[in-house]
Every structure is written in structure tokens, then in C-alpha cells.
Amino acid sequence: MLAKRIIPCLDVRDGRTVKGVNFINLRDAGDAVELASLYAHSGADELTFLDITATIENRGTFTALVRRIADVIDIPFTVGGGIRTIADVGALLGAGADKISINSEAVRNPAMIGLLAQEFGSQCVVCAIDVRSNAAFDCARGPGWEVYVHGGRTPTGKEALAWAMEAQDRGAGEILLTSMDHDGVKGGFSVELTRRFSDQLSIPIIASGGAGTMEHFAEVFTAGGADAALAASIFHFREIDIPELKIFLQKRGIAIRLSQ
């Protein structure tokens, strides 16, 4: 049976991980490769690296990092952050990334999704969508959500579900769906949001934003219908241990890959 995926997310700036990481047994907590390797060995199903490099000049550092990650990591990984052109994507995939995620640029230029799918295949095109609930988009089915870009700072006026369906039709292979309302609060994923998107879309949904407990993961996989769940700080600070989380989920009857 296809397993639900657990995906730690690492923020990288100028080639180093930035979100505080609390692994006392790491020689260098800022080394993305070492941290990624530790996650891969502890049973993470995939990894995501987001480049939050401040300057364009340092973008090359990220590509170099992706090459080092690909040398070492034997599970799939996605890279994103600041991708603007087909050449950006070609360089990252050529460096060994399995998938790329695009967010703001896809909103600015939706045709980009189709171009990438055509050039590299849908399987490597993840459309990341950051949303906030907005009563202006409520409908008969329930509450509505608005798409935000630029790291969640800029509202776009786009209704989120319609945008996700457009991204799917244009060739996105997966949706990384982040609830800004829930992100960082540790009160649980937005089950309602995830469920609505999962029911309406025919491509996999990665739920993101709000993980605080193991129960939250169980909830977003069952009630939310998520195909994968992504989290950052609760893994980095070891508030949740991935092997324990996976055993917990398996005991709840959720299809999970236990480390071999």
C-alpha cells in the first residue's frame, strides 16, 4: 500500500541551514548535508530544501549544495525558493534534485508550470501554495482561502482552490499546501483546508503548517486526506522524533514505511 510521507523541511541561506537546529550530536548544525543525512537515516520519506538566500549572487551556492546533497542522500528531495526560469530548474535538476517547487513565480507567470512540466515532466514540478483564510472567498461548501506570495507577505486576490486546480491542469505533479494561519502555531494542520483540496484535486497534496504533536499528523492523514505532511522546527528541535512518529502512525492504522 502506498505510504503516507513524512517530509522534514530545511531552510537554507547561503548554503547553510538557518532555522535553529537542536541536534546536539551534529558536528555542525548548520551543515545541510549532515542534517539531511541524519533525517534520511532516521526514516524521513523525502526532504525539502528551501533556499532563502538574500542575494542573487549567492544562488550558485545553493546549486553547489544541491550537488553535495545528491552525492550523499539516497531518498528523494525537493528544492525550492526563488526559482524564476527554466534555466534555474535545469541547473537544480542537473545537480541531482528530484523535484523543484515553485511558488511566487508560478502565480506571476502561470504558464511557467506548463513549460516546466513539458520540459522536465510533471513528476518533478511541485506547486507550493501559501494560503490564509479569507471570508471574501467563502462559498456554499465552507470557508475560502486566498493565495499569498513572497513568503506569505503579499496577498494576491486569487482564490486558493481555483489556483490549485489551475496549477494541476497546467501540469503540476504535486501541491505543497501551507496554511499561513496555522504555520508556526503548533496547534495542528488545517484539516479542513487539506481535506477540501485533497477531495477536489487528483494530484498528491503535501500538508504544511501547524504540526505540533504526533496526533496532528494522524489527523491530517486521516481526516485531512493528505498524501504527505511537511514540518520543520518540531523535527529540528527534536520535539518529535521521526522513528517514534512513524511507529505511532502505524499503530493508528495509517500506511507508513518503517525503516528497514
Partner: protein, 207 residues
């Protein structure tokens, strides 16, 4: 295992081969990437990866006459993902006639089956019938990403199930083997499959 004769990864227009090369490097194998007939014929093992779309890949193989070269190879040969699909007889993906090493057909996961397509993520392989899976227990987990799948056939050496659909996770005919999953991305289980392929002497060649 870096001694000659070499492991050759087929160079063509379909997809990213760096992860396959990295996986081989982790196993101590310095593979050669080539589309040269002589290099392919002299290889001890040939790996045929692939990510992308079937018809454009087949067109490229035909125009470059790589199709004839690959079909004539006698040494252990491993197709991965699209590579395996191209080794089947026919793919529904843009109605493409394929190389035909295997008698299976490649069909799309039903769009109206309620299944998310692509089939993306970790799934278990079952009914393992080949030394390729030696030492992996009865239900190893592998990483899959695909929208089309090879039907079950007498040449199926591992099965997988997605929703209600059973399909070939791996196929074998003579020296030709193919796996739908990505061994290069399937953690230690995937590395073991590659290692088994490199060290299996039953198919004739040796590394």
C-alpha cells in the same frame, strides 16, 4: 568494484542520470555514461534510466539507432522507471511502440479511479522472484513516481498494488531486467537492488 569491464549508463534524451550515478558511486562503482555502440557492447553491465515522456524518448532512440544496439546487448541490463517502460512492447503514453524486450503493455492509471496520479511515494513490492531482490525480505519498500504502469505478465518478477491496480514493479526476460521504482532513491533497499544487479552472475556477465 570500479575495475573494468565497466558499468555503462545509457546516455539519451530522457532525464536526469545524476542520481543514478551518485547511487553507483556510493556503491564504489565509477560508471561510464555513453551512447556509443562499442562502449555499450563492451560493458559488463548496462543501466538504462529514464524520467520523462515515452514517445520523444523512443523517437530519439530510433533516430540515433540506439534501439537496435540496446536490443542486441547480451550482458545484464537494467531499465529503471521510464527505462523499464520503454523495454515493454507498447505504451499508451502517446501510443508509442517501444523496444519490446518484455511482453507487457504500459497503460495509464485510471483518471476516474479516484487514485491520485502520479503514483508517487513509497510502496511495497510483493511476489519477489529474482536474485535482484535477494536479502530484502518479502515486502521491501521502494520509491515510485509514475503515471503509467506495466501490466502483469509471465515475465513479472515483482508486483506492486496501487488502489485496486496490480502492476509489474519489475520484469525480467533473458539478460534484460527492469524496475518501475527508483532504486537510486529507495534508501538501503534500493542500494541492495543495485548491488544485487551488479553482483548477480546468473545472467551471464560479471563485474
Amino acid at each position: 568494484m570500479s575495475q573494468s569491464p565497466s558499468v555503462v549508463v545509457v546516455k539519451y534524451n530522457a532525464g536526469n542520470i545524476r542520481s543514478v550515478l551518485c547511487a553507483l558511486t556510493r556503491l564504489g562503482v565509477d560508471a561510464v555514461v555513453s551512447d556509443d555502440q562499442k562502449v555499450l557492447q563492451a560493458a559488463s553491465r548496462v543501466i538504462f534510466p529514464g524520467v520523462g515522456e515515452a514517445s520523444s524518448a523512443m523517437r530519439y532512440l530510433q533516430e540515433s539507432h540506439l534501439d537496435e544496439t540496446l536490443l542486441a546487448l547480451k550482458q545484464p541490463f537494467l531499465g529503471i522507471c521510464l527505462g523499464m517502460q520503454l523495454m515493454c512492447s507498447f505504451s499508451e503514453e502517446n501510443s508509442t511502440g517501444c523496444l519490446g524486450m518484455f511482453d507487457a503493455q504500459v497503460v495509464r492509471f485510471g483518471d476516474h479511479s479516484g487514485l491520485k496520479v502520479p503514483h508517487m511515494g513509497w510502496n511495497t513490492a510483493h511476489d519477489l522472484k529474482d536474485p535482484l531482490f535477494a536479502g530484502l525480505g518479502t515486502e521491501p519498500w521502494f520509491y515510485f513516481v509514475h503515471s503509467y504502469h506495466a501490466t502483469l505478465s509471465p515475465q513479472t518478477i515483482a508486483t506492486c498494488t496501487y488502489g485496486d491496480v496490480g502492476f509489474s514493479a519489475a520484469l525480467c526476460h533473458k539478460n534484460f531486467k527492469g524496475v518501475q521504482f527508483h532504486p537510486e532513491k529507495s534508501g538501503p533497499a534500493g542500494a541492495k537492488v543495485l548491488q544485487n544487479f551488479l553482483s548477480d552472475h546468473s545472467a551471464g556477465g560479471s563485474v
